[in-house]
């Protein structure tokens, strides 16, 4: 283990180095086992098919399209959050990490970064699928604004998801507690995302309120990153 750490050592504080090491391990596991991202992508695409039949519409636009996209992505996050800590708990990886002489914040940073990357990967698949399957207006015009919104939302989702994942992982009914906790917590993101995306999907051009919704998402991400960094230590005490 020390040799491994030395080999991956790079400039930067110890927390970041430890976080990068854990993140690399998580990504390697994900690349080999493919447990989270393919399932999430499949879930998102299947949800689009369900929405097609549920609305009985071939093409969506405006607020319905924005809502469909955001609800699907937020529900997909639930799937990723459920997987985030379960494997660590089941196979004893967490105990090994807790034994290592590293700051616990590193574990949070690594888990949140992993969730962030999973979400980006899922959106790379889900967004084109949404454009092909359901979206009426052209996606390309609204792509820059939408990417900014999604990335900022992913940041908030990664922070809140890592916190909720760690909270729920210790409970007996974690498959239930995790989603029930996460869904109310992401309501502000659903509000900001859907409100900001709706004018993009009406085809009327750039929204004038984009800045304030990005601001709300930024505030959300900041608050939950700070909260998680402050509170994560208490979740991993034993």
């Amino acid at each position: 283990m020390p040799a491994e750490l030395e080999r991956t050592a790079r400039p930067g504080p110890a927390v970041i180095r430890a976080a990068v090491a854990i993140l690399r391990k998580d990504l390697r596991v994900e690349l080999r086992a493919r447990e989270a991202v393919p399932a999430m992508a499949l879930f998102a695409v299947t949800a689009f098919v369900l929405f097609h039949f549920a609305f009985d519409r071939d093409a969506l636009d405006g607020d319905v399209a924005a809502g469909t996209l955001w609800v699907t992505l937020l529900l997909t996050t639930v799937l990723g959050v459920n997987r985030l800590f379960v494997a660590e708990r089941e196979q004893g990886g967490l105990e090994a990490m807790l034994l290592a002489p590293i700051d616990r914040t590193a574990i949070f940073l690594a888990k949140a970064a992993a969730l962030f990357l999973y979400l980006v990967a899922v959106e790379v698949v889900a967004l084109p699928a949404f454009a092909v399957l359901l979206l009426g207006p052209d996606l390309f015009g609204s792509l820059p604004a939408l990417c900014a919104l999604l990335l900022l939302a992913d940041l908030g989702l990664a922070a809140v998801g890592a916190l909720v994942g760690a909270l729920a992982a210790e409970t007996r009914a974690r498959e239930v507690i995790g989603p029930l906790l996460l869904l109310p917590l992401v309501v502000p993101l659903a509000i900001a995302g859907a409100q900001a995306t709706e004018p993009l999907f009406t085809g009327s051009g750039a929204p004038e309120d984009l800045g304030r919704w990005l601001g709300l998402m930024g505030l959300y991400a900041t608050i939950f990153v700070l909260l998680s960094v402050a509170l994560f230590d208490f979740l991993l005490e034993d």
Binding site: L167, V176, I191, L216, L227, L231, F234
Partner: protein, 265 residues
């Protein structure tokens, strides 16, 4: 220590509630638009404010628990949150009744306070399932505290978000609370708010006292059981020694003697 504060608190609560009722029904003027149904305002809004403050106080107490590591802060936080959940149900029900009476619908989505409350309620409804699906009591307290702190921060953030959404889709000024209320109405509202806060505090103190007492009873019973199992001598000598060892004030001897009934078996 809980027992002593309870009596004056309960008396003040009874007086405050009586005064509030009197003012609501005999002093505050009837609302010109809404008529009698507007009086639900004196129940609904104080309940909402007290429940919100209860959630925030639960978060602060949880932070105290994580900082001091004393179980009592977790108990305080737990009782505050669980009373606030009950009040929140009341807020949603009275809000719904008020909405039906004055707007004709049981639920209105363009009332940001009510909508925020629903979201916050849905989040805190998971507090107890989370808490009680963790077996280890120490970890249970820690995890519940992390939830309580995150929940308090989220409550504030959520109000900002919902208000932003509401002012965006319905650009109008919300001033139904405060603002241009006649002085009589405002005074009645303040008294109702104080009465509701007193009710909350009394219930909080009562429940904490009862939890504290049953915890002590359990500990005393366990000690007695241990001594009855361990000591070969009669129960009298053992019980006599347990009393000073506990070092607890007034309630302890009573609970020991109550516990000694099932102990010989």
């Amino acid at each position: 220590m809980y027992g002593r504060a309870l009596k004056p608190l309960a008396l003040a609560t009874a007086a405050g509630a009586a005064l509030a009722f009197g003012l609501i029904f005999f002093y505050a003027p009837l609302d010109a638009d809404q008529g009698f149904i507007q009086k639900i305002f004196y129940l609904h809004v104080p309940m909402a404010i007290v429940a919100l403050l209860g959630f925030l106080a639960g978060g602060v107490m949880a932070a105290m628990h994580l900082r001091t590591r004393r179980r009592i802060w977790d108990m305080r936080s737990y009782v505050a949150i669980h009373l606030s959940i009950i009040l929140a149900v009341g807020v949603l029900v009275t809000g719904s009744i008020w909405a039906k009476a004055s707007w004709g619908h049981w639920w209105v989505w363009d009332e940001p306070m009510l909508v925020s409350f629903l979201i916050v309620f849905l989040l805190y409804a998971v507090y107890q399932p989370l808490r009680f699906s963790i077996d280890d009591p120490e970890r249970q307290a820690r995890y519940a505290s992390v939830f309580a702190i995150s929940g308090a921060a989220f409550t504030v953030l959520n109000f900002v978000a919902v208000r932003m959404a509401a002012t965006y889709t319905h650009p109008r000024v919300f001033s139904q609370t405060g603002g241009n209320m006649p002085a009589e109405m405002f005074l009645t509202f303040l008294v109702s708010l104080a009465a509701m806060a007193l009710i909350f505090t009394t219930l909080w103190t009562l429940e904490l006292g009862s939890k504290n007492a049953s915890e002590r009873l359990r500990r005393a019973r366990r000690r007695l059981q241990r001594e009855a199992d361990g000591g070969a001598l009669g129960l009298d000598g053992e019980g006599g020694r347990a009393r000073p060892a506990g070092g607890a004030p007034a309630p302890a001897p009573a609970s020991v003697s109550a516990a000694s009934v099932p102990a010989p078996r």
